[in-house]
């Protein structure tokens, strides 16, 4: 069974179609990238999968549940992180994680937080207010929040945006470790093609609200006759400009 199935998914904002009748599936235990230029519809698609944006048309099934009818059955098994959403700045890292551990019904919140603090190396600033942290530290806290409930499905919107190469590399390792260890499904929107080649089994290429291609990174590179995903991405982006 797939972790995510979307059929005829459409989102219109007035006359503008942000996403047009896309259908795709994400295999359980896979890491899939949603690629495309700015405005391609990646964040809109992720928002609909999370249920924070209602589709104009189409159907979404996540972990076997229809998101339109049983969203609250599946939300405890999902999580999400994005550089565009924040946590309360006056609360310390530990307080933020405690609040979200309770929201997700984590059985032993203190123990789970301690595990994540160790795994993501947050110990140095766990008692500091979230608002005083650097962008890299905030991203690590946000990832800790996303892993609190040991989600079966993790949606990541540009997980390493604004990170320096060293921290970005560590974050990728941690996500891959978690994915392998828990057998979780990861769906990430990214502009970082190195990240995609390194982490992902499958890629969905989006352009102007539609899925224009899909496949494993290696397959796409071969199909486009290019050396890497960076060049494939440019081909797709330039096709967009030409269109």
């Amino acid at each position: 069974m797939n972790a995510v199935e979307a059929a005829g998914l459409t989102k219109r904002f007035g006359a503008v179609a942000a996403v047009s009748e896309i259908s795709f599936s994400v295999g359980r235990g896979s890491t899939t990238a949603l690629l495309g230029g700015n405005g391609a519809g990646k964040t809109t698609t992720i928002s609909m999968l999370l249920g924070v944006l209602l589709p104009t048309a189409g159907r979404i099934t996540v972990l076997g549940e229809d998101m339109a009818r049983h969203r609250y059955r599946v939300l405890p098994r999902m999580n999400f992180t994005s550089p565009y959403v924040d946590l309360p700045r006056k609360l310390t890292v530990e307080e933020n994680l405690t609040v979200f551990a309770r929201l997700y019904g984590v059985a032993r919140p203190r123990r789970r937080i301690a595990e994540l603090v160790a795994a993501l190396d947050l110990g140095e600033f766990v008692q500091r207010a979230y608002g005083t942290l650097s962008a890299g530290q905030r991203t690590r806290v946000s990832i800790a929040k996303a892993l609190l409930n040991e989600p079966d499905l993790l949606l990541l919107d540009e997980p390493t945006a604004s990170l320096d190469p060293d921290i970005a590399d560590r974050v990728r390792r941690q996500l891959m470790e978690y994915q392998r260890g828990a057998g979780a499904t990861l769906l990430l929107a990214s502009h970082n093609m190195v990240e995609v080649e390194r982490m992902c089994d499958a890629v969905l290429m989006m352009r102007a609200g539609r899925i224009v291609d899909s496949g494993a990174p290696g397959e796409l590179v071969a199909r486009y006759g290019r050396r890497n995903m960076e060049e494939v991405f440019l081909d797709v982006a330039r096709a967009e400009a030409a269109a």
Partner: protein, 268 residues
């Protein structure tokens, strides 16, 4: 988890998030008590002056202070709901909250819980000071005080939810409604004067407010020494409508935000 599918654990988590804030910011806690105290001090002096000049007021020197304190319950209660919602907007946290299993009704319950805590801290301080400084205790109202307090809180929550719904719809540009909305009701609520002082057409409007019935009931207790059930039940019935409307508007606004994709963006 209750039969309605609401989780006390999640409601507590959201209240805890605000208790963390109160714990680390004494300024925030002092601010809660500051305005109710200032108002109480001001009106206590006015009451003292009037007590020597008006035979009616002289019967019950504490009537103005009691009215003021009850008004503060309404104002602070409303503000408590709206501000706890604004905290999530200021911190751009709504996206994280609504991808978690937190249900909108649980957020409403938590906002109401935080409002209760804020009101008790804010108005409780002013009540204590009124006893110490002016020997005027709102508790002289006796058991009816509970009825007035509860009714005003429900009205406050209803207005707070409507203001929060407006902000969810129009963004923080609508934030000022939180500070001003309740004052629209002030002249019509008969806080410091009976409703029959108003022109007849305005009286009809005033009786549509639960607050008018509460303050009429308060005056009956203070001036006539009688608890009247008719304004009490009128206030309860109107509050049932107001609260249902407040929750309905908030949930409709939440659904609208989901349609427009505002939950991940709102807060700018």
């Amino acid at each position: 988890m209750s039969s309605a599918g609401l989780s006390l654990r999640r409601i507590y988590a959201m209240i805890l998030r605000h208790l963390y804030l109160f714990k680390k910011s004494w300024v925030r806690v002092v601010e809660m008590a500051y305005w109710p105290t200032m108002q109480m001090v001001l009106w206590a002096f006015i009451a003292k002056y009037l007590a020597t000049n008006s035979s009616v007021i002289a019967q019950v020197p504490g009537v103005l202070v009691s009215a003021l304190l009850l008004w503060e319950v309404l104002f602070r209660g409303q503000l408590g709901v709206a501000l706890s919602f604004f905290e999530e907007l200021y911190s751009r946290n709504l996206g994280h909250l609504f991808v978690s299993p937190l249900r909108p009704m649980e957020l409403v319950a938590a906002m109401i819980g935080v409002s209760l805590i804020r009101t008790v801290i804010g108005v409780g301080t002013a009540i204590a000071l009124a006893i110490v400084l002016y020997q005027t205790s709102i508790f002289d109202l006796g058991v009816p005080l509970v009825a007035f307090f509860a009714n005003l809180l429900v009205t406050a929550w209803s207005v707070g939810l409507m203001v929060s719904a407006l902000v969810m719809r129009y963004g923080l540009a609508a934030e000022n409604f939180a500070w001003g909305a309740i004052f629209v009701a002030a002249p019509l609520s008969g806080i410091y004067y009976p409703i029959d002082v108003l022109p007849p057409w305005l009286q009809a409007v005033a009786w549509c407010l639960p607050t008018s019935h509460v303050f009429e009931g308060m005056r009956a207790v203070l001036l006539e020494g009688e608890f009247r059930w008719d304004p009490f039940w009128s206030a309860v019935a109107l509050n049932a409508v107001y609260l249902a409307a407040g929750i309905g508007v908030f949930l409709a606004s939440f659904r609208g935000a989901r349609k427009r994709g505002m939950l991940l963006q709102i807060g700018e």
